[in-house]
Amino acid sequence: MALRAALLRHVRIPAQTLNPALTLTGGKWGPPSLRWMSSHDDHLSKSEVTERVLSVVKSFPKVDPSTVTSDVHFQKDLGLDSLDNVEIVMALEEEFKLEIPDKEADKIDSTNLAIEYIYNHPMAG
């Protein structure tokens, strides 16, 4: 025991500062106010929402991908029916991990409205 105490008194480990890039605030995660794993500040950008909405609509089997733009009406421009409309909105829910209430889902009938709704939804991810 005496030996251990004597050793401990003499051994010194230099204090190390953490690599700034690895600290939870600041560093490569952006401004210090952004907390790590906090979902509140990283809202989807409009261009990302647009891109993902369009890719969902384009991958719908009955849609000709070349006709899809950010301002097409599902039924008037793409020749879909109301059942397809419901299917597309459900596919968008899955893509953005949302649960859109029926009342709102009924109103979404164009890519433009879908983009607006999802962009303004706080939980869209």
Binding site: D81, S82, L83, V86, E87, M90, E94, D102, D106
Partner: protein
């Protein structure tokens, strides 16, 4: 079956369709989940051109009965969830 009740409105049919797709998602087993979704879409599409009000009511009440079945089965299947994922959903 309540054929006497008037034909369901377009909105009611779409709501039933959406409810079916929502319950289909709840199945834990990939095959049943995809089957329920596929079967829903096929059935609604098959009856899309019905015009006779009594035929529409009959199809609608049949759909509601099937919806109850799907709801119950989603609960039952959740108690016996597969331990492994299907290979179809591994690389998602």
């Amino acid at each position: 079956m309540s054929i006497a009740a008037g034909a369901p409105s377009r909105a009611e049919v779409l709501t039933l369709f959406r409810s079916f797709l929502r319950v289909a998602r709840k199945f834990t087993d990939y095959n049943i989940r995809e089957y329920t979704k596929r079967r829903t879409i096929d059935a609604f599409r098959q009856n899309r051109n019905l015009t006779d009000p009594s035929a529409i009511s009959a199809a609608f009440s049949d759909g509601k009965a099937q919806f109850e079945v799907a709801n119950r089965q989603a609960v039952v299947y959740s108690l016996y969830a597969p331990k492994l994922k299907s290979v179809m959903e591994v690389h998602k």
